[in-house]
């Protein structure tokens, strides 16, 4: 796989392991530029015929990702006539769903090595991976209800697929963040890493995975990990319906204009 160093992400491959690094400050907010580059990445991933594992990680100290770029979402939306806003949001959401679905179904074994803030769309990116290895500084959160929205990158159907519905309700309906220990206790996190050790542990895990026959691993994954396509489609519809409500514009404006020291907290 040819190495790539973009404005928001970079990737490379060595010894059968592809590594995708998120490197956009302040905390890997996912906007149009990141989406463009993620689309290039999943296209490039299709040509990988010999690798056995993919590691997704962040080089930004604040965390794995704070999720969707709400400032860009707000400003782009405001720049459009009111009757074109939902169509623009739908286009973005449809595109990010395609990226997430391709990652989810990727024949490689995929590992998210996370630390710090792993919120919203960043959490959803981690959930598209097969395994989550979390630094003990990691915090997971779905803050979208604070904005009058639901998570829009496929996180709820995937979390519901992987964990009990009660856990999903707790995270979704309270908007609270949980630490890595709690996340491991509920089965979300497969391995807990010491501070700064998640990537090293992910590489060790990828090396172990490399001992197995690639086709057998891919077949096992395909058997055990179904993509909840119907719910993912429904999520897009609900997200777009909610986006038309005045509460969303007000919530986004409040976030963008906030001088509050705690914009990420409820």
């Amino acid at each position: 796989m040819k190495a790539f160093d973009g404005a928001t992400i970079s990737w490379g491959s060595t010894e059968g392991v592809v590594e995708l690094a998120l490197h956009k400050t302040p905390c890997n907010e996912i906007g149009s530029q990141t989406l463009d580059e993620l689309e290039k990445f999943v296209d490039a991933l299709d040509s990988v015929l010999t690798a056995h594992a993919l590691i997704v990680h962040s080089t930004v100290p604040a965390g794995f990702s704070a999720g969707a770029d709400l400032r860009e979402l707000y400003h782009r939306s405001q720049a459009l006539p009111a009757n074109e806003r939902v169509a623009a949001v739908r286009d973005f959401i449809e595109r990010i769903h395609k990226v997430m679905n391709r990652l989810d179904a990727c024949p490689l074994t995929t590992i998210a090595a996370v630390h710090g803030v792993t919120f919203g769309g960043g959490f959803e990116l981690a959930l598209a991976c097969d395994l989550i290895i979390a630094d003990k500084t990691a915090r997971f959160c779905f803050p979208e209800l604070r904005l009058g929205l639901i998570p829009g990158f496929g996180g709820i159907p995937r979390l519901k697929r992987d964990l009990g519905n009660a856990v999903v309700r707790d995270l979704l309906l309270t908007g609270r963040s949980v630490n890595a220990t709690k996340a491991q206790n509920v089965g979300l996190v497969s391995q807990l890493a010491g501070e700064g050790e998640a990537l090293r542990m992910a590489r060790a895990t990828a090396a172990q995975i490399g001992k197995f026959d690639r086709q057998t691993s891919a077949t096992a994954k395909q058997f055990i990990k179904q993509i909840p396509r119907e719910e993912l489609r429904r999520e897009i519809e609900i997200f777009c319906e909610l986006f038309t409500r005045p509460a969303v514009e007000a919530g986004l404006r409040k976030f963008v204009e906030s001088s509050d020291a705690l914009p990420y907290l409820p």
Binding site: P26, T174, G175, S177, A261, Y264, L265
Partner: protein, 83 residues
């Protein structure tokens, strides 16, 4: 059976934790200080402090309980309620 620390002990542990992690001398921190200003931290770093508090005390402290909280003493009171 371990006894529950007093609120004074909890305050002291919070101050010691903040001092060690954010590299501010303990002598410069007081219970009623605004931790945003005193530690010079952002909202994202408050989440880091929350994680360390949860780990140190072995509790879960939902972040909505931190809404409006900016001093060490009130933070310690929120912690104390879960010990």
């Amino acid at each position: 059976m371990p006894t529950t620390p007093t609120i004074e002990q909890t305050v002291e542990q919070v101050l010691a934790l903040a001092s060690a992690h954010f590299k501010v001398p303990r002598a410069e921190l007081s219970p009623d200080d605004d931790f945003f200003k005193k530690l010079g931290i952002s909202s994202l770093q408050v989440l880091d402090l929350l994680t360390r508090v949860e780990s140190h005390f072995g509790i879960e402290l939902p972040d909505y309980e931190l809404q409006g909280v900016s001093d060490f003493r009130t933070l310690a009171q929120r912690i104390q309620a879960r010990l």
